[in-house]
C-alpha cells in the first residue's frame, strides 16, 4: 500500500510540474462553457427582421407589435417595396422578412382569410425553420385573440408547454455536452499520454522490473487523474449552476457518482489505448480520432441522434458519451433518480468493466 502512495505522489509531481498542461486542462472547460453558453447559441433572441407593411392598418401594426414584443425578434427596418426584399437578404442584414399584403384587416374580417408572407433566410436551415416556427406561433396566438370573441362550434386548442427547459436555453444542452467532452479528454487522453510517456522514456521498464504489481502501476497512474477530472467536473457543474442557471433537479450524489463512473470508463479507454501503442504522439492521435470525434459527433451533443441514418444510430450505442449525456440530462433536468437512469448506468458500467478488464489484461502481458 505504501508503494501505491509513493507512486501517486510521483504522479502528482508530474501533473503539477507540467504547468502548461494543467492550465489547458482547467482553462479549456471554462472557455468552452463560456463559449457555448454565451457565444455559440442556437437560441432565437432579438433576431433582426424587416417588415414590408402594405396594409398600414391597425391590425398589421398590432401584429408587428406582437412580434417585437415577444423578445425573439426586433424590427430592423420597414421596407417600402417588394424589390427591397432581395437586397436586404443578400446583405445578410435581416434573417426574416414579413410581408403584410394590402387590406390585411379587411380581408381578415370580411374575406375570412388574410394571407401573410414570411420569407426566411434558410442558408442556415435550422435557424430558418426555427424562426418560422416562432413567428407562426406568435401569429397564431394573435389570431386566436382576435377570433376569441367569436365562438366556433368545434375547436382544438393545443396547449404546448416546453417542459424541463421552458425557456429553451441551449446552455442546458451544452453543459452536459462540454462536461462529457472534457472528462473524455482529460481521462482518456491524459491517461494514455502519461502511460505512453513512461514507455517512451524507458521508465516503464524500470517499473515493470520492480516488484510493483501491474494493478498498482495502473491505479497509481490513474487515480490522480480521476481526482483531477472530478475537480474539473465540479467546476463545470458549478459554472452551469451559478452562471447559467442550469438546474440540478436530481440527487447531487447520484450525479457525482455517475460522473465518477464515466471517468472510469474514459480512463479504462485511455489505458487500453496506451497498451496499443508506445508513442505519445500515436496515443494522442488515437484519442483524438477514436474518442473525441465520436464523443462530439455521435453522442447527441451537437447533432441529434434521432436524425442520423440508422447505421450511425446503432454505432452511437457503443459511444460511452451517448449514455452519459442521457444520464446527465435526465438527472439534472428531469430530476431522475437511479430508478429512471439504471439502464444507461448499467450500460456504462458494463462498458467500463469490459474496457478495464481488457486493458489490465493487455497491460499485464509483458513488454515485448
Amino acid at each position: 500500500m505504501r508503494e501505491f502512495f509513493v507512486f501517486v505522489r510521483k504522479e502528482c509531481y508530474h501533473i503539477f510540474r507540467d504547468r502548461r498542461t494543467l492550465l489547458i486542462l482547467f482553462g479549456m472547460p471554462v472557455v468552452l462553457i463560456v463559449l457555448f453558453g454565451f457565444a455559440i447559441t442556437n437560441e432565437v433572441r432579438n433576431v433582426k427582421i424587416a417588415v414590408l407593411d402594405q396594409a398600414q392598418d391597425a391590425y398589421s401594426r398590432q401584429l408587428t407589435d406582437r412580434i417585437t414584443a415577444s423578445g425573439y425578434f426586433t424590427v430592423d427596418r420597414y421596407l417600402h417595396a417588394e424589390q427591397d426584399i432581395e437586397p436586404v437578404f443578400r446583405k445578410g442584414e435581416v434573417k426574416m422578412v414579413m410581408v403584410v399584403p394590402p387590406n390585411f384587416g379587411h380581408k381578415f374580417y370580411h374575406g375570412r382569410k388574410a394571407p401573410l408572407q414570411l420569407l426566411t433566410d434558410a442558408s442556415d436551415p435550422n435557424t430558418g425553420t426555427t424562426l418560422v416556427n416562432y413567428a407562426n406561433a406568435i401569429i397564431l396566438r394573435y389570431q386566436q385573440e382576435m377570433t376569441g370573441k367569436i365562438t366556433l362550434p368545434l375547436t382544438i386548442q393545443p396547449e404546448a408547454r416546453m417542459i424541463y427547459n421552458p425557456s429553451l436555453k441551449s446552455v442546458f444542452l451544452f453543459v452536459p455536452g462540454v462536461m462529457t467532452l472534457i472528462l473524455m479528454l482529460v481521462c482518456a487522453m491524459m491517461t494514455s499520454i502519461t502511460i505512453t510517456r513512461e514507455k517512451e522514456l524507458g521508465t516503464m521498464e524500470i517499473l515493470l522490473v520492480s516488484p510493483l504489481k501491474p494493478v498498482t502501476i495502473i491505479a497509481g497512474k490513474v487515480i490522480p487523474y480521476i481526482a483531477l477530472s472530478f475537480i474539473i467536473a465540479l467546476t463545470i457543474l458549478a459554472m452551469g449552476f451559478w452562471i447559467f442557471g442550469m438546474p440540478i433537479r436530481g440527487s447531487l450524489l447520484l450525479l457525482l457518482l455517475e460522473c465518477l463512473l464515466f471517468c472510469l470508463a474514459a480512463l479504462s479507454l485511455g489505458i487500453l489505448i496506451s497498451s496499443l501503442t508506445n508513442s505519445q504522439q500515436t496515443a494522442m492521435m488515437i484519442s483524438m480520432m477514436g474518442l473525441l470525434l465520436p464523443t462530439i459527433l455521435l453522442s447527441g451533443f451537437v447533432f441529434p441522434l434521432e436524425s442520423m441514418p440508422k447505421p450511425l444510430q446503432i454505432f452511437a450505442n457503443i459511444v460511452p458519451a451517448k449514455w452519459f449525456i442521457i444520464i446527465l440530462k435526465d438527472v439534472m433536468l428531469k430530476g431522475a433518480g437511479l430508478r429512471q437512469v439504471w439502464q444507461p448506468t448499467l450500460i456504462l458500467g458494463g462498458m467500463t468493466l469490459f474496457f478495464l478488464l481488457v486493458s489490465v489484461r493487455k497491460f499485464k502481458t509483458r513488454l515485448s
Binding site: 507512486f7 510521483k10 509531481y13 507540467d18 522514456l201 521508465t203 521498464e205 524500470i206 516488484p211 509483458r366
Partner: protein
C-alpha cells in the same frame, strides 16, 4: 555459495525468428559478467528474460536462486535494473527520484533518508539534491541512475548498455561505481558495445546470432583467439561464418 544466475537452454522465439537460441551459462555471486554482442545478437532479449520483462519460449533459468518462471516476485525483489534509455524522471528532483525508487522497493522512510544522504555524498550531489534531474549533465544522470538501481541492495544488478553516449572519463568513473558495488558483493550483469569496457569485466560472453560463441575471462579469450585486444576477438567471432564457428566453440 549459490550461483547468481544459471540458465539452461534459454530460448526466445518471436514467430520464426529465434532471438536467443538455447543459451546456457552461469554467473557467480559477486562477479562482473560482461554480455557482449553486435546489435541484434540477442543480448538485450536474454537480459530482458532474466529480468522478467519477457517470457522465455523454452529453457530454464534461475536468478538469485529463484526460478524466473515460477518465482518472478522473489526475483524482482532481488534484482536492480538500468535500461539503455535514461530511466529517471526528468521532472522530479534528485531527491524525489531517490525517494520514489526507494519507495517502490518498499524501503522505509528511515532507510530512504539514510540512503539518500549516503548516495548524495558519494556522488557529491548534495548541492543538486533539490534540482530537477533534467538540469544535470548526462554523465551525472547515469551515475545517479546506477546508484538508484542498487539502492535497495539487490543481489544482482542488470545494466543494459549503461554508458551509451558518455565521454571516456565519465565512463571510467561509472566503472568505479560498478567496482565498488561488486566489492560489496553485488553481481553485475552488464551488456556493452565498448570493447574497452569488456576488459573491465571478470568474465565475458560473446553472443553471435542468438548463441553464445565464447565465454571466459578477457585474458584467456585473447589468448585463445591470439588477439591483442577484445576488439579483435570480437571481430573474429562476429565476422566468422556460422559453419566455421560451430566447430570452434
Amino acid at each position: 555459495m549459490s550461483k547468481a544466475i544459471v540458465t539452461r537452454n534459454l530460448t526466445k522465439r518471436f514467430g520464426d525468428f529465434i532471438a536467443t537460441n538455447a543459451i546456457t551459462f552461469e554467473v557467480e555471486q559477486g562477479e562482473i559478467f560482461g554480455f557482449l554482442g553486435a546489435n541484434g545478437a540477442g543480448k538485450t532479449t536474454a537480459m530482458r528474460m532474466l529480468c522478467g520483462l519477457l517470457k522465455p519460449s523454452s529453457g530454464e533459468a534461475t536468478v538469485a536462486g529463484f526460478n524466473i518462471f515460477t518465482q518472478a516476485e522473489q526475483v524482482k525483489r532481488r534484482i536492480g535494473y538500468m535500461s539503455q534509455k535514461f530511466s529517471l524522471y526528468e521532472d522530479l528532483t534528485v531527491k524525489e527520484n531517490i525517494r520514489f525508487y526507494g519507495g517502490i522497493y518498499g524501503l522505509s522512510h528511515q532507510q530512504i533518508k539514510s540512503k539518500t544522504e549516503e548516495l548524495l555524498g558519494k556522488l557529491q550531489l548534495q548541492k543538486e539534491a533539490d534540482h530537477l534531474v533534467s538540469s544535470l549533465p548526462l554523465g551525472w544522470k547515469q551515475k545517479l541512475s546506477f546508484s538508484i538501481a542498487v539502492l535497495h541492495n539487490p543481489s544482482i544488478v542488470f545494466l543494459d548498455e549503461p554508458t551509451g553516449g558518455v565521454d571516456p572519463i565519465t565512463r571510467r568513473q561509472f566503472w568505479d561505481l560498478i567496482y565498488e558495488a561488486a566489492d560489496g558483493g553485488v553481481t553485475i550483469f552488464v551488456t556493452t558495445h565498448y570493447m574497452d569496457e569488456a576488459e573491465y569485466c571478470n568474465r565475458i560472453s560473446i553472443m553471435v546470432d542468438g548463441r553464445i560463441k565464447a565465454l571466459d575471462t578477457p585474458a584467456r579469450l585473447k589468448e585463445q583467439y591470439r588477439a591483442d585486444s577484445m576488439n579483435e576477438v570480437f571481430l573474429q567471432l562476429a565476422r566468422a561464418k556460422p559453419a566455421e564457428n560451430n566447430s570452434s566453440s
